[in-house]
Symmetry: C2
Subunit: 584 residues, 2 copies
């Protein structure tokens, strides 16, 4: 080793030791008779001190040539600091430097290598090797490493086996697009990169592995939305001979373990919400329970007063915003604009203010008496100085809009406690989702999800009524993971494929090998998969998963540091028997 | 859970417990008054017993309908066996069955689901879900899981961080071919799948992560030789501020840990051989040290007796085979054929037999006296009843041939102790390798490997003399891993690129981002990478890595179970802006 210690470990008990440290220069301060250098590595920062009256001319010459981010090796004696720095683990000591060797020089970095940096994200991604020197970024990746370790600890102890599944698989497009990989040895044929190891983990259950997990890279060729990456890491799990309850218990246990080990937070049992409850209370199957603002269905008590907008609506929904009467006309206008945006699509926003004297002022006073308003207020549990926000319209759309409004208001009014975690299981998802555009049903979870036993008879007659043995884990409004109890009966599996509109030929092409396996003794099984990047960003308290991925792509699916994707040699394409189409 | 216990855990102390087991039927034996069913899961086998006189008609009807590989749930009482089976962990007990529920039926499997199976490898790969039910295959994958766990335990404790590097990267073909992935969002451009995370791990050192590792999937689009896979798993490691000795110590420690934890074998220090020694003693840079058969250079004592073949040769090499005089004329002919094969390319094989009376009989008696032969025998340390095998010719080729002959003789004569492990570090590899076909030098390790300080001056004048700070770990003749101390000086890196014949343009295209990073303070660093599949097959004692990979490709890079690669929809290709060339 070129060093005796790292930059984070020396303490007052090490005083008088002769040490050698290596690291990067964070900053140099020339105080006249003394020069201080902060030396940084992954483990911390140690202060190097050069007393000019004691230093050799050689040493001073070298010190004068140093600059930020130079890599040096410094030899010296540990001494006690005159003025200690309690913020630094090594803050009680400094190194009285005797010798410095420059291991490598550095250009001036294009942005500050500090937790608070002045670099744009584009610049930081391009110079990721410098961005990752920032202690805060190193901490994110160290936390990611710990979380992976804790996950494995917990699952290993619970008897799970980590098994690696292949990356070069068969294209079965359903849902997102596959990334394809041309085969050179089999001209005209392609591998696909896995969107998830779904089929392989089911195969592993059929093979009898009983409890499987894998921290595994997955790929989706999507038009990138907000915070998606074309490649992402999934914690993928499957168990045999289990029921839904067993999966929930096992993975609730995992998250309790993670919260305890990483953040020292204890949890009692997680909440469980049925899908319909989640929609009716929070307007979302990913409810954020860090704040209340529950939706109240006031349709029945509001209708029939001659106000057309309400009378013509399928549903009328309210949320009571505590102390919301502080909202000005301007705020209300902003909220109205918000619900009128095309993504949300409401006609407008109604409200009832509860004044400090207990009287009401609504946006529809013309049709409603104070007594009518009082009845609504009681239903919504509104107190003095609160405001009730009201949306009306078609059922599905209005619940969705109310869910969005709920989130927006919570953000605007700062109702979200950023320091807590509110996990909730959402269960009993519908089996299918109707797509208006393609005029067919899609699997809400995926085509291998089992319907609830008591709903099987509705599969052909009334598919939208069928509930699935499917569940999501939602924390702070983010879907952290989801899974289901799978179908293990070949006839039922074929029926579900049929409900999804697959022809016999498509079924065999896409899932033939799974159905083959289904003929040889499939155990009842179920599983779940979690977004590991998302878990990391949640625990790190950062908005973007890009901050917890060492080398992420940008929003345009490009790696700015290595400049990928890129053009390749025509020889390479020839060998693969493919050509680029020139008509784009 | 559908069960109270698994099939591997019940013991004599559980007698009288009411239990429910789930699993697959391994076999059914109807003994007249009793029916025995072996029920199998990942954890073991438990015997189910049906006493016909005590069983209900329903139960007997169900039992009569059962067959091999049916999945059942059985309820009953644990009782002590009359005749115990000491080979089985559960062999003291059996279950007196009260109820059986068929969870799933099974077709008759196409081969025996036993450790000794009758299925061909093709068939087993196609029905991998059945193949993996064989306990021996489950054990291989369970061992693989444990080895991964031990590796992480050791490296985590040593302060290494596991960091995930991207799979969709930039194509930098050098060495093997890249697999390419067309980009839909960037028409005409491609990602490549990584052959290794080499550049990323160096970037991580530049970013200051100090100690990195990753168990990571890598990809090489090669014409498949013997036991290669297009995707394979690598243990990839890198450290900063280290010298070669530190890497060797750290990873020797890792392997001692693995041998101890998994196989309970203790090791003292591993042997170290210089590359030149390895070639001169064993004719290979991957020497198998489980047997001796060391090569002796007898050029000087053999030449000059008028035998043209020897007199014209650059080198004359011998190996003494202990008790080798048992080799018949037919054996010798077979060995002669072996060394004459085009891959080896020798003209012939000479030999000296040491008879039981101490006299000699050689294949070149005409030119050599008994005294001459005695001199050779002393040099080769040959005893009575030994045989000395001799090859002669150009230096490099003859050492290689002797290495191959050495292995072949060891196998033929059963000189290999299959129960021991002989790890050895091979160090001081040459920096470059001349390729006759393309008339250029290639990096023996890779272009980022540092030359030995004292050899740098030879880089331009005498490249083949330059030794690198490169090392391999070889166990039982298999290269388990290799690495190097990297170049951390940008000028030296550019010089090495130049020696490899890269133009400035090529350097920038292929390695531009690395050279950019080199401008901002690179620490001295080095690393190593191990073939994880190879480690697993070594520990499992199997010949093929396919046995320790859950879903391997066959020798033709095809996945026989899922039938990949396959044709894809033309829509998919259109979206990717590529077309298949029709001229293949």
């Amino acid at each position: 080793m070129l060093r005796t210690h790292n930059c984070g470990e020396l303490r007052i008990t090490d005083v008088n030791k002769e040490v050698i440290l290596c690291g990067w220069i964070r900053r140099i301060r020339d105080m006249g008779s003394i020069i201080w250098i902060d030396l940084r590595d992954r483990y911390g920062i140690t202060q190097l001190t050069i007393f000019k009256d004691k230093a050799s001319e050689d040493l001073l010459n070298i010190v004068n040539s140093l600059a930020r981010e130079y890599v040096i090796k410094a030899k010296g004696k540990v001494i006690e600091r005159e003025s200690k720095n309690p913020k630094l683990a090594t803050g009680d000591i400094e190194i009285q430097v005797e010798e410095i060797l420059i291991l490598n020089k550095s250009e001036i970095p294009p942005f500050l290598i500090e937790n608070e940096t002045n670099g744009s994200e584009e610049l930081r991604l391009k110079y990721r090797f410098l961005d990752l020197r920032r202690p805060i970024m190193q901490n994110y990746l160290l936390m990611r490493h710990r979380l992976a370790r804790y996950i494995r600890e917990y699952l290993d102890n619970a008897g799970f086996v980590e098994i690696e599944t292949p990356m070069l698989i068969r294209s079965t497009p359903e849902g997102a697009r596959d990334f394809l990989v041309p085969s050179r040895l089999h001209p005209g044929k392609f591998y696909a990169l896995p969107q998830s190891p779904q089929l392989f983990k089911q195969i592993l259950m059929i093979a009898g592995f009983d409890k499987y997990y894998q921290l595994v890279r997955c790929f989706r060729d999507e038009d990138l939305r907000a915070d998606r990456q074309p490649e992402f890491t999934q914690l993928d799990c499957e168990m045999s001979f289990v029921e839904q309850e067993d999966i929930l218990n096992t993975f609730e246990g995992l998250f309790k373990y993670l919260f305890k080990k990483e953040l020292n937070i204890d949890f009692t049992n997680f909440n469980i919400l049925k899908y319909t409850e989640a929609i009716e209370k929070y307007g979302s199957d990913k409810p954020d329970l860090r704040y209340s603002l529950e939706i109240v269905n006031i349709t029945n008590i509001v209708k029939g007063k001659g106000f057309n907008i309400f009378d013509d609506a399928d549903v009328i929904l309210g949320i009571c915003v505590p102390q919301g009467n502080v909202l000005t006309r301007k705020h209300i206008d902003e909220l109205t604009q918000f619900v009128r945006r095309p993504q949300i699509g409401c006609g407008g926003l109604a409200y009832i203010r509860v004044n400090s004297d207990g009287s009401y002022k609504s946006s529809f006073d013309k049709y409603y008496t104070q007594e009518d308003l009082n009845k609504i207020a009681i239903n919504c549990n509104a107190q003095k100085n609160d405001i009730i926000l009201i949306l009306s319209g078609p059922k599905k759309k209005t619940y969705f809009a109310m869910g969005e409004l709920r989130k927006h208001v919570a953000e605007q009014l700062n109702l979200i406690n950023k320091n807590i975690f509110c996990p909730v299981w959402v269960i009993d998802f519908p089996m299918f989702e109707w797509d208006e555009e393609t005029r067919r049903y899609y699997a809400k979870h995926h085509p291998f999800t089992s319907p609830k036993q008591e709903d099987i008879e509705l599969l052909e007659s009334n598919p939208e009524k069928v509930r699935a043995n499917a569940y999501d884990l939602v924390i702070n409004g983010i879907e952290i993971g989801g899974g289901s109890i799978r179908i293990h009966d070949i006839k039922l599996q074929k029926l579900v494929f049929k409900c999804l509109g697959f022809t016999e030929k498509e079924i065999n092409e896409k899932f033939g090998f799974l159905l083959k396996a289904f003929e040889y003794g499939v155990p009842p099984h179920g599983g779940i998969a979690f977004g590991f990047d998302r878990i990391c960003s949640l625990f790190a308290g950062v908005e973007s998963i890009r901050d917890v991925i060492a080398f992420p792509k940008n929003q345009n699916a490009r790696d700015l540091m290595i400049d990928a994707p890129s053009q390749v040699d025509s020889d390479q394409l020839n060998e693969l028997n493919i050509a680029i189409k020139q008509n784009f």
